[in-house]
């Protein structure tokens, strides 16, 4: 007697029940599929943008800016040198922004420090960027820090200072003045003030971009960045138009 087969048959009694239970089950699977796909596509369209309370007036004249003083608008990035997302923005998107929006005089771009406490090695990097800035090398240092993030950030080392000072030397910073600047942590209060300014503007993650009163907490690609910048430029032009007319 084929007991094995018999046993198996007995065990799963009700298996393949094509009745209400199984239909209900298939309906649940279908509903879950629809809900899952809908949720994922909704999430893919979320931009991370929100409006800053209109009573809070951006923007601090702090950090470091690049671009023409006569540019109509300024876009601010709150960034953390050890943040991989900021690194990806700096290395992949920012070159396009500088060439197509900053160099053409459409926008001015400002980097404001927002070192996050989840990153252990980020403070020396921020201090170094200011010490390089003291010698007119902020943007060179900014680019070198982001380009070499994997060499001095936490998984790579617990002592980032040596790698960072090599980078400073590499971008042509005078080392005597740099070392003195780093030793005294000269710009710590300034960086701390920038963090507080960011918190005041509702910055909670990096990179966060401030386009006028619009705050966007996400890595943007060039097209997304340009859309926000364009709408800011259009607003600024409209405002200037009204002012001229009322004069």
């Amino acid at each position: 007697m084929d007991t094995g087969r018999g046993r198996a048959k007995g065990v799963v009694k009700g298996a393949g029940n094509k009745g209400g239970g199984q239909r209900m089950f298939y309906a649940s699977v279908g509903a879950l599929l629809v809900a899952g796909i809908a949720t994922l596509s909704f999430m893919s369209t979320r931009s991370g943008a929100s409006q800053i309370d209109s009573t809070i007036k951006p923007i601090p004249n702090t950090g470091h800016s690049i671009g023409s003083d006569s540019a109509l608008v300024e876009v601010v990035e709150f960034g953390d040198f050890e943040c991989p997302a900021c690194g990806s923005f700096a290395n992949l998107t920012e070159p396009d922004i500088r060439a197509r929006l900053v160099a053409t005089g459409q926008i001015r771009f400002r980097f404001v420090d927002f070192p996050l406490n989840i990153h252990r090695n980020t403070w020396p990097a921020h201090l170094a960027s200011w010490c390089a800035g003291e010698q007119g090398r902020f943007w060179e240092m900014h680019d070198a820090l982001f380009m070499n993030q994997d060499r001095w950030s936490e998984p790579a080392t617990r002592r980032p200072e040596r790698v960072i000072s090599e980078l400073a030397r590499g971008v042509g910073v005078g080392m005597e003045q740099y070392d003195a600047c780093m030793d005294t942590q000269k710009y710590r209060p300034q960086i701390q003030a920038n963090v507080e300014e960011g918190i005041r503007l509702g910055v909670g993650s990096t990179p966060t971009f401030i386009f006028g009163q619009t705050r966007v907490g996400a890595v943007l690609n060039y097209d997304q960045f340009k859309r926000y910048a364009d709408s800011l430029i259009a607003d600024a032009k409209a405002k200037r138009g009204t002012k001229t007319r009322t004069r």
Binding site: R7, A15, N17
Partner: protein, 151 residues
């Protein structure tokens, strides 16, 4: 059967959670930013890939496998397969062990917790418990059959 249906449904939720993480890792979905809950730290760490494939993609494959096996277990054709509960048990047991290792890495090596990874780990435990109950139910039914047969 109810157990296998539940297993299939929970695994399907797992497919979507892992799919979200895989799409996030690929940059298609979500906002890539630091300081929003640890997913970026975990996802950008060197532990986020296994054998050159993102862990999240392994997760999608794992939950899909559990879903397919559990779904088959609810059908007329495959529901009677005697080895099916054991297959589910081994599969989900492996999933729990892998999730435990990933959670250990998050807590003690990467020092960051990703919410969606935690959800995935919880789902892995749930499908394992369901598979265990299904397997035990089969064992008990077999024992009953044996004792009936011995009369």
């Amino acid at each position: 059967m109810t157990l296998r249906r539940l297993t299939a449904l929970v695994a399907l939720v797992g497919v979507f959670v892992a799919l979200y993480l895989a799409l996030y890792k690929a940059g298609v979905i979500g906002t890539l930013a630091c300081g929003t809950g640890g997913c970026e730290t975990v996802q950008l760490s060197k532990w986020a890939n296994l054998a050159g494939i993102p862990v999240a993609v392994w997760g999608v494959g794992y939950y899909l496998a559990v879903f397919v096996v559990a779904l088959a277990g609810t059908t007329e054709r495959w529901g009677r397969a005697a080895k099916l509960p054991l297959l589910l048990l081994v599969l989900t047991g492996w999933g729990v062990l892998f999730s435990a290792w990933l959670t250990y890495l998050e807590l003690f090596v990467i020092n960051a917790i990703c919410r969606y990874c935690v959800v995935s780990a919880v789902l892995a435990v749930i499908v394992f418990v369901l598979a265990l109950l299904d397997w035990r139910a089969q064992r008990e039914a077999l024992d009953r059959q044996d004792s009936v047969a011995s009369y």
